[in-house]
Symmetry: C2
Subunit: 463 residues, 2 copies
Amino acid sequence: MKIPHSSTRLAGIAALLLSSAVSAQPAQSAAELAQQGDDPAWAITRDLTTDVGPRMAGTDAEAVARRWAVRRLQAMGFANVREEAFDMPVWVRGAEEAWLTSGLVPQKLAISALGNSASTGPKGIEGEIAYFESFDALAAAPDAAVRGKIVFIDHDMKPTQDGSGYGYYGRGRFTGPNVAAKKGAIAIVIRSIGTDNHRNPHTGVTNFEAGVKPIPAGAISNPDADQLVRQWRRPQPVRSDETPSLKMKLTLTPQSLGTRKSGNVIAEVPGSDPSASPIIIACHLDSWDLGTGSIDDAAGCGIITAAAKHVMAAGQPRRTIRILWAGAEEVGVFGGKAYFDAHGKEKHAVALESDFGADRVWRVDFKLPDSAKALSDRIAAAVMPFGVVRGKQPANGGADIGALVQAGVPAIDLAQDGTRYFDLHHTQDDTLDKIDPVQLRQNVTVWAATLAILANSSNDELP
Amino acid sequence: MKIPHSSTRLAGIAALLLSSAVSAQPAQSAAELAQQGDDPAWAITRDLTTDVGPRMAGTDAEAVARRWAVRRLQAMGFANVREEAFDMPVWVRGAEEAWLTSGLVPQKLAISALGNSASTGPKGIEGEIAYFESFDALAAAPDAAVRGKIVFIDHDMKPTQDGSGYGYYGRGRFTGPNVAAKKGAIAIVIRSIGTDNHRNPHTGVTNFEAGVKPIPAGAISNPDADQLVRQWRRPQPVRSDETPSLKMKLTLTPQSLGTRKSGNVIAEVPGSDPSASPIIIACHLDSWDLGTGSIDDAAGCGIITAAAKHVMAAGQPRRTIRILWAGAEEVGVFGGKAYFDAHGKEKHAVALESDFGADRVWRVDFKLPDSAKALSDRIAAAVMPFGVVRGKQPANGGADIGALVQAGVPAIDLAQDGTRYFDLHHTQDDTLDKIDPVQLRQNVTVWAATLAILANSSNDELP
């Protein structure tokens, strides 16, 4: 990917010649600083994933990550660095194993429990598989087709640049277990909500309605789902004579640990004008437990923090920039809710979040008041040299700033390229080697350019 | 990849016009048959990996695979289909878990035991890591640098088309554990002999010299090795104050089960001339236990068998073609040795093996008697249209025909493109979805073209 400079090459060379001629450095913009030297986003992503690694919400590892975050943000020169604690219900993974047991030879499947899955107990359960080609097919099925069985949901999710496959195919994970439980299934196993072909189950949270008793719920990797489907479709000789239907043995022993502490970590670049409301920029500090949480979401914390650092280095902005490293996002956005409970009544000028990996920003979307028309034009023009298209739909915000945006805080999305995001999302393969430092830096550059404009916007333009 | 037809397009069209004009099908060559209709190589690869899946040498799964193989080879119309049993020592995997324990938070590593690894016992062991950047660095180290520690061997193996990286970097696995054991290490963990960046440990056999007490030996995935090395190189703050050195907790509980039965499966295309010695073509039926053994080596069995089938369909050849699906290759080439013990004194015209995945054949190498100069020219000319270069080095043969070739049987290598082979080799990711049917069929076509020439070669050309 080409990373253009914000000025033309000729202008850059002219500036360089001028600076050496007169021995005076011209002031550099935040976006210019983002393109030089070591990238703080890379350093944060590398060190958080190396020093702490997986940091599941509500666990000791997440608490270590918060202390690590406070030290790092202080060392980078930010102000008002603090933890803000909150309570949350904690779920942790146990043993997990699945076998196809009805073929010529029992075959092991790579499986991970979904967040909030019930336990099968240590001895596991065995049952006949009820196959559904999609979430919709399960939803339409009569209870009799499901009762007493292990539901399997298949599908064929493909990569999309904007990640829109996730919401559509993700229903199998978000609500499939609840639907299966209501129809009397003894468990549910889904094809991973993922676009890779590695033996990586994609975990993620599921939720059961109040009054619905949770059932064991897991995801198998795409190659394992392929294998299950091939056995499902093969003629009878494949299966042993005694078991003409496809069967699975499933052991998942996750536990709910009750209420524990989590927390948000907050830091600020103080603005020069006390009359100006702050800008809030967010990522999440917690991660799933299978990988080291590099693309999800150490990189997001790296990107927003590096951009704020560059804005600070370019000269004090008018507005305060508040950095939120939210806790406990993955398992139910508890950090975002806690921030809103504590700060929702404060005025916020605008909210942005980075939580979609580390590949390049390709589109900018706005959800701003009418007063900000010229502001949005300035931002679109500033990020256009870095390969960023101006989108036509309103910005969504992000999970951790969702409650703020819902309550009317303006939002901007610096939308990242999600083409390979769901190859890695919520798997053991979310590790540092998957981060492309060139694309990571493009993110920081685009964020720095955007943030510099926002942080110096007038009180007439933003609330 | 372009798969050219063996004749020019125009000649093909002319033949088609002629055949419709006179209502008589011209006889088709084996290579032409290989390019048409369903590919028996794909069917064998798909069905063996789906119906049986992993089939570790000496286990029940391998025995099921032999029975499956006999049925399939009989159904395909081959003659003299039979099992030839042999005894072998059986080693099976147990629990496997590794943790880096000296950082801020214990971090889990993806690990698999190497074949012939000793057990740590169910409680595991913990020790300081002795880091070596290569096998050679370990070999050169004084015993004092190793004694009582867990050795780690790093390296930077990259993909090569001819697979030559394996022999060079593979020493860390083949003999690293033996060297570490002799120097007094309590265990050894190596960076996987693999070229991917997934959380896939690459297993494989290791061997301890007689008189050397085996130690626990495992391989961690490349991303995990990266993580270990980053922690190794990080400044002190990463590690907790009490444990300035890097430590690992290791649990591996494999077992040696003693002597068990394995076996080869053999089938033949009978030749028309009883005075002609047979051609032996080989693959191996067993696989490592982590994946379903698709590229290693169901595809090889599919390729050689489909080629033999096409030669048979094109008209009875002069020489017998003997198909060897060897047992127990992965853990010590026990099937190849058993074949040699039983048949080594019989005359064999030439030996070929397919055991390097399913990507295209790119080079042909010969190790033939002087009498076969014109024969090798005919073969090189026949495979050249399919993108196959004539090599300059002598053919190696392959593991299962190794003893035959060592004893003087001529050999031909139809060398496959190994660029991505070591991404998958001996991992849980060796599954059917990794096979490219277009490249698989090119293998069959090249094999069919070669085999047709060999099977009709004169007694003056080959022994």
